[in-house]
């Protein structure tokens, strides 16, 4: 950086004149030059400190105020989904406020319609599923007991306590779910109220807020920060839109497939698969587990005469959903997302899961991509890679 400033400072008469205006005439030219460099460096440090303080306070508040992070994540998702529609209306001559309000109203109507259509069905299915859970637990334990007995007869004497392990695990997991449900609901109510509000103002004023933050960036890294801000923003937008589209398609295929098979709880299982699909790589597997478990243990899950054939059919529905996803959505999207190595993806998901549970898993990839982009840009800036050495 010093070398850069040195090369920036020069000794033309005009420049010396302006420097002497600042520092007085009684100092030598090299002293003036040093003072000038120090002044610019001080200004850059101050601006950088101000910028970091602003960013840290924004992220600090979002991370540490309970419920705010989730509200912000949803607000970002909503604003990325609705931004193209707002731009569309604005491009046709409407004011920004009206252009933002119209997609919100339309989305509100759509969501209200979906809720009136699907919520009663989903609630009924959830209720029925909840009543059935003890029975499923029991069936599952019977199955593990059968496996255990067979294994026991094979390994003679080496008794593996599979059923005991499985029962404690399954009871703790399903118990967790019903115990955490009220807390989850009250939290999601706050999120449901806050997220659209945040999203509305993000769409209305977000760009000017971004511009105000950029105004504090020191001159020597201004263009880099602007470019980085734009890249991260467009990559996140592409990522969010692709993920939501994927979720809708996977959920839709699963819903139609399970309905077609006459499988129970089709709506709730499809919603679960759609939400789980947001987690890269592992999500589709998680999403299929409940349906496979039901097909394995419950007579209701037996959609055809043969038990194993109905299991294969259910797995087939989930595979078909993934196949459509891989064939049509991923080719459209992959180019827009920073390439992360599969190992990096899995490690990011694990870190996300450890830090913030399911939400952490969902947001781990965009966060990892942003970190990669930022570190790449900083690295290139530090090394000042020249095009000759790069191309």
């Amino acid at each position: 950086v010093t070398a850069q400033i040195d090369s920036a400072v020069n000794n033309t008469p005009e420049n010396s004149a302006s420097v002497s205006k600042v520092f007085g005439n009684n100092i030598s030219s090299s002293q003036r030059r040093r003072n000038f460099v120090a002044m610019i460096q001080r200004e850059r440090r101050l601006k950088l400190a101000a910028l970091l303080m602003i960013l840290f306070s924004i992220f600090g508040i979002i991370f540490f105020v309970k419920g705010l992070l989730l509200a912000f994540v949803f607000a970002f998702v909503i604003s990325y989904m609705l931004a193209p529609f707002a731009d569309f209306f604005e491009a046709r001559g409407l004011g920004r406020q009206a252009s933002v309000a119209i997609p919100f109203l339309l989305a509100g109507v759509l969501i209200a319609l979906a809720i009136t259509l699907f919520l009663p069905v989903a609630a009924r299915q959830l209720e029925a599923l909840e009543q059935k859970i003890p029975q499923y637990q029991n069936d599952f334990l019977q199955m593990t007991k059968g496996i255990e007995d067979r294994l026991g007869s094979l390994s003679k004497g080496n008794h593996l306590p599979i059923s005991a392990m499985a029962s404690s695990w399954i009871i703790s997991k399903t118990g967790d779910l019903s115990a955490s449900l009220p807390g989850l609901l009250s939290q999601s109510l706050t999120v449901l109220l806050l997220a659209p509000l945040f999203a509305f103002f993000m769409l209305l004023d977000g760009r000017s807020v971004g511009r105000s933050i950029l105004a504090v960036v020191p001159n020597h890294i201004f263009e880099m920060c602007l470019d980085l801000h734009h890249q991260i923003n467009s990559q996140l937008a592409g990522f969010v839109r692709a993920r939501i589209l994927e979720g809708i398609i996977v959920g839709g295929v699963v819903w139609l497939g399970l309905l077609g098979l006459g499988f129970p709880y089709a709506t709730i299982l499809a919603i679960f698969a759609a939400v789980m699909n947001l987690i890269p790589y592992l999500g589709p597997i998680f999403g299929a587990i409940p349906a496979i478990a039901i097909a394995l243990v419950s007579p209701e899950g037996q959609v055809v005469d043969s038990h194993s054939l109905s299991l294969i059919l259910v797995i087939g529905v989930y595979l078909l959903a993934q196949l459509i996803d891989v064939a049509f959505i991923i080719p459209l999207v992959v180019a827009k997302i920073v390439n992360l190595h599969p190992v990096t993806v899995v490690i990011s998901i694990i870190i996300g899961a450890q830090a913030m549970g399911i939400l952490g898993m969902v947001i781990s990839i965009p966060v990892a991509s942003s970190i990669k982009l930022i570190s790449q840009a900083i690295f290139e800036h530090i090394l000042r890679l020249k095009p000759q050495t790069f191309d």
Binding site: Q4, S7, A8, V9, N10, T12, E14, N15, S18, V19, F36, M39, I40, E43, D87, E90, A91, R207, S208, R211, L214, A215, N219, H220, F222, E223, M224, L226, D227, H229, H230, R384, K386, P387
Partner: protein, 185 residues
């Protein structure tokens, strides 16, 4: 209360300065006052001390700058001419109303072909590729007017460069030296 009025007044004066600079600029001269207002909310106002670098040759360039106040000097680093000074070979000086760096508006991760250094306390208005994309998405009519003017500027530059190249080739021919490369058919 006075302070508030003063600040309000100052803000509007700054906006006026930006809008005036935009209105007088070749790229934005076709825009209506409503469109100019829209653009003036998008541009980035930057101030530089005398001697401070705006950008350096080979930096990744994202957009153009309009000189609102002060002066900018443009240099190209020339390793074959060590006598050219610390900044490189002096190319040109730009003053109020001039603009530079516009090629970066249409070039994806292109690199700056020269170094720009402020020569006074200088105020610039930055207009960058993300801003142009935003104008095209939100106000396509203004966007297309800007793009058309930008194409005109780049076309003119290309014409000037072609003329310069053919002049040089002619001069080389008169000197009896064979041209360094043949023109592509």
């Amino acid at each position: 209360m006075n302070l508030l009025w003063e600040n309000l007044f100052r803000k509007s004066r700054h906006e006026d300065v930006s809008r005036k600079a935009l209105r007088e600029n070749f790229l934005f001269q076709d825009l209506s006052s409503k469109e100019l207002q829209f653009i003036s909310e998008l541009v980035h106002k930057r101030t530089y001390h005398s001697g401070e670098t705006v950008f350096q040759q080979n930096d990744v360039g994202v957009g153009m700058y309009i000189v609102v106040a002060g002066r900018i000097e443009v240099f190209v680093s020339d390793p074959s001419a060590p006598e050219s000074g610390a900044e490189g070979l002096f190319i040109t000086q730009l003053s109020e109303g001039d603009f530079f760096g516009e090629i970066a508006l249409v070039e994806d991760s292109g690199h700056r072909t020269a170094t720009a250094i402020a020569r006074d306390e200088t105020t610039l208005l930055g207009f960058f590729r993300p801003d142009l994309t935003e104008v095209l998405a939100r106000n396509p009519s203004a966007g297309s007017k800007i793009i058309l003017r930008l194409a005109e500027v780049l076309g003119r530059r290309l014409k000037e460069t072609t003329e310069k190249v053919s002049d040089l080739r002619k001069a080389l021919k008169e000197l009896g030296t064979p041209p360094p490369f043949e023109a592509r058919k």
